[in-house]
Symmetry: C2
Subunit: 243 residues, 2 copies
Amino acid sequence: MIRTIFKFYNYYISKDKNFTRKLRPLLGFTPANLKIFKLAFSHKSTSSEKAYAMQNNERLEYLGDAVLGTIVAEYLFKKYPGKNEGFLTKMRSKIVKRKALNKIGDKMGLDVLLNEYNQTRLSRSMLGNAVEALVGAVYLEKGYTGTREFVIQKVLRNYVDVHELETVDDNYKSQLLEWCQKNGRSVSYKLLARYKFEKRDRFKVAVVINGKKMATADDYNKKSAEQTASEKAMQALGILIDD
Amino acid sequence: MIRTIFKFYNYYISKDKNFTRKLRPLLGFTPANLKIFKLAFSHKSTSSEKAYAMQNNERLEYLGDAVLGTIVAEYLFKKYPGKNEGFLTKMRSKIVKRKALNKIGDKMGLDVLLNEYNQTRLSRSMLGNAVEALVGAVYLEKGYTGTREFVIQKVLRNYVDVHELETVDDNYKSQLLEWCQKNGRSVSYKLLARYKFEKRDRFKVAVVINGKKMATADDYNKKSAEQTASEKAMQALGILIDD
């Protein structure tokens, strides 16, 4: 009996040790509250009972999503003192959008940790969610300054090429045009309205495919409105798969 | 000549003193870097020259928007340990959405400070933007912990009734129904698809007004999808004015 308890105890101790060993190089520190970090890798579908509704990573994702967004916002704000809000917002979205987070989670090897605490088959989006939940867990343990250090040193520096992102052009207009040409459809843009908002010109445009209005968008800049409308149209057409 | 310089100097000194006097009760501390706080109240249209593109509050708004979102996210995370991510996200949006921020800026009396540093006529949305820019300015001066204290003590406690927000139901379905009845239009909901996503049921619904599909939305919960679709339809109909 005592031997069984001992074995049982030993099994969990060594599982924890193993988990810590895997986490340490990712985090740059040894986590104190292992429970929170285990939770970060527990997907909703694993805890099916209602009573355990809180025992999954969704609350941590919610927190980590906000914290990560702010750390990246601040990082870019300081890195680019001469750039305007539009540039900063776009760059931030390139770093923290779902697709990018999934890639980061993949490169960090979070699949190994997710497999440890889940019975379900992994999906791409679980990787990005785990990045957010991990940031949430780090935040609860280290606070804002410690989490900023973790995100900048261990995530951005290792897995994000900010300078490359500057030049990546999310050119949805040209992507949509290419797709339409390949699929024998016509595409054009229509200016629906031009109006003043807070003393600045604002444009409402529609993207029209085969004579049908597919999507509309508003912006202070006509080109930007066309880009956004193109992105929406691609989403509606199901040709913009974000993971 | 010396008297003119003195008068000029005195004018700016007393203007600064006056500004500080107005800011102190709002902030709960005496700002050290006045320049940043003045910038928070300088609207884009005031600085028209291209060289001055950075001399307005848009970069501060970008930073403050992120910081405020995280502080509110964390505040709710800790206030409601038993609530799930859906509830927390909804509550957060009720606090930081444009309309709510405009109200907060109004209650804080930011119009007085905006008038001091702007030649343009105030709009409602400038009030909300100023709240964000002010949070950005506080962040640059005080860091995360100091800003959290400011936001919780000086903004949330004074101007946001969190418990009231819990019960406020953004019931777009009933609002839309009421509007349709008043305007002699029919409204119905159509389930377009039910599919599995990450092992969970997901629903795509459309809201149909006078036989025309007005908007669609996806959610894990059919009711929530209908709410979101209703909100989108109200936006499309121009009957959801957000300021």
